[in-house]
């Protein structure tokens, strides 16, 4: 499958770039932790409030960090002549899209592991349903990365990219925020039954945007 081959190439390139520059590890992950700390300041050091609000705060921190990771991911592709080079490369546009999504997913999963450790440590919350927690992270991250990559290329090459991207993307990912928060809330409580329903919604959302991205990416890659 040439799509998967091309996606693998882009993924490998993005991971190598991260290895060389450490932007995610050195800047985005600390930013996510900083957001967690700021939430704690804003909500007073009342552990009860913090632990009750943990699912929402966690996913808000992820969302804000995702915006930074996205801007980094598409700043790289806007470099010196790179958009032209991508168009001339012969890479399948759908493969490029999947590769960018995969790269973002890897970076964000690392971020989420750190943030999970952060909320456990700072907010004193411990999950009851670890499996639900893990699969929710996977599905929600895939959805966020798919929407993010779609809107990332959509706002590529614009002078106002950095302000337009959040405005376009955040309302669209609102269902991810709601579903992931609800699934997490279920995982942190004893009863995780309703959490699986929300997980299902996340999977459907991610699949939908992956398909939309694969179809629309070619058109959006043109003349950016």
């Amino acid at each position: 499958m040439s799509i998967l081959r091309d996606a693998g190439l882009i993924l490998g390139k993005d991971l190598r770039l991260e290895m060389r520059t450490r932007v995610i590890a050195g800047q985005v992950v600390p930013f996510g932790l900083l957001v967690l700390v700021l939430f704690a300041f804003a909500l007073d050091p009342d552990r009860r409030v913090l632990s009750e609000a943990t699912p929402g705060l966690f996913w808000l921190a992820v969302l804000f960090s995702t915006l930074l990771a996205l801007q980094r991911a598409f700043e790289v592709e806007a470099g010196d002549g790179v958009p032209d080079a991508l168009r001339l490369s012969g890479l399948d546009p759908a493969g490029i899209f999947l590769g960018k999504v995969a790269g973002l997913v890897v970076h964000m999963l690392v971020l989420e592991i750190v943030l999970l450790a952060g909320v456990t440590l700072f907010y004193g919350t411990t999950p009851h349903a670890a499996l639900l927690l893990v699969v929710t992270c996977l599905a929600a991250t895939a959805g966020l990365a798919a929407v993010g990559s779609l809107y990332g290329i959509l706002s590529a090459g614009m002078r106002v990219r950095d302000t337009l991207l959040p405005l376009l993307m955040l309302p669209v990912v609102a269902p991810v925020l709601i579903s992931a928060t609800q699934a997490f809330a279920a995982a942190y409580r004893q009863a995780s039954g309703s959490g699986w329903r929300w997980f299902g919604l996340l999977v459907v959302f991610a699949l939908l945007y992956l398909v939309i991205g694969m179809v629309a990416f070619e058109s959006l890659l043109e003349e950016s």
Binding site: M158, R159, L164, L168, P171, I212, L220, S224
Partner: protein
């Protein structure tokens, strides 16, 4: 073109749209009379179980503008698909014009709904699924307009806006069915069901209001579309001049070189 639809050289009106506008003006006046005076208040022996009194009159504006904003965003989605298939400028302009009017109607929907909510429910705003999803829909379409304002090249703008205009429409059914799918404070549908739970003059006022609101949307949208169309033509005129100027550059350049015969004599 039929002279009825030919635009006036100094504006965006044609003879047909002027007549349409005048009829619309009369219709709005009649509608206001029906909605505010002629139709009965929801009180007295014929009151519904809610007995809202004069409050019910907000519905004759609120529901029609909501229907008009659905219509506007539906037209945007259809025009976006048509643009992606046909790649013609007209569809792109139609999508833009419709979304712009749709945003105005969405704001009106939220504003009238807020007044209603304050009086009937006891709150200006509530995080109810219908209200929340409507607000998100509004922001999505504001983002659509921001995208259109940000990209300069018309072809790039059209292509990107078409993708967003299509994806954004996913909000509309969610907004409409949110009252059935999830629990909220907002009432479920009154007329878009098999057995409308409204009758008499109230039903007439509501249906008449919808007709008027959609007509107002069409009128606004047509003028917005024409404005964009004229603007595009203006740019095209500029293009012809630019082409001529560009070719003239060559004439001067080759004029400096006596041996060459200028091109473009054909």
């Amino acid at each position: 073109m039929n002279p009825l639809f030919r635009m006036h050289p100094d504006g965006t009106a044609s003879r047909a749209s002027r007549v349409f506008g005048l009829v619309l003006l009369v219709a709005v006046a009649v509608f206001l009379a029906v909605a505010l005076v002629i139709s009965p208040p929801d009180s007295g022996p014929n009151a519904s179980e809610n007995s809202m009194g004069d409050l019910v009159r907000i519905m004759y504006v609120h529901v029609p503008v909501a229907v008009a904003c659905y219509t506007a965003f539906f037209v945007t989605a259809v025009a976006s698909v048509a643009y992606l298939v046909r790649r013609s400028e007209g569809w792109d302009l139609l999508a833009a014009a419709s979304a712009e009017v749709g945003v105005v109607f969405t704001v009106l929907t939220l504003a009238t709904g807020s007044v209603w909510g304050h009086i009937a429910w006891g709150t200006w705003w509530e995080w109810d699924p219908r209200l929340t999803s409507t607000l998100l829909m509004l922001i999505v379409y504001i983002g659509y307009l921001a995208l259109r304002g940000a990209v300069l090249d018309p072809v790039v703008r059209a292509r990107r806006a078409a993708v967003v205009g299509l994806v954004a429409f996913a909000n509309v059914p969610i907004v409409h069915y949110s009252v059935d799918w999830w629990r909220g404070i907002h009432q479920p549908a009154t007329i878009s069901r098999l057995d409308p739970t409204i009758d008499g003059l109230k039903l007439f006022a509501l249906m008449f209001g919808m007709l008027v609101a959609i007509a107002v949307y069409v009128w606004l949208m047509v003028h917005r579309f024409r404005l964009e169309f004229v603007r595009a033509r203006l740019e095209e005129q500029g293009l012809d001049t630019a082409l001529a100027e560009r070719r003239a550059e060559a004439e001067t350049a080759s004029g400096a070189n006596p041996v060459t015969a200028p091109k473009g004599a054909s």
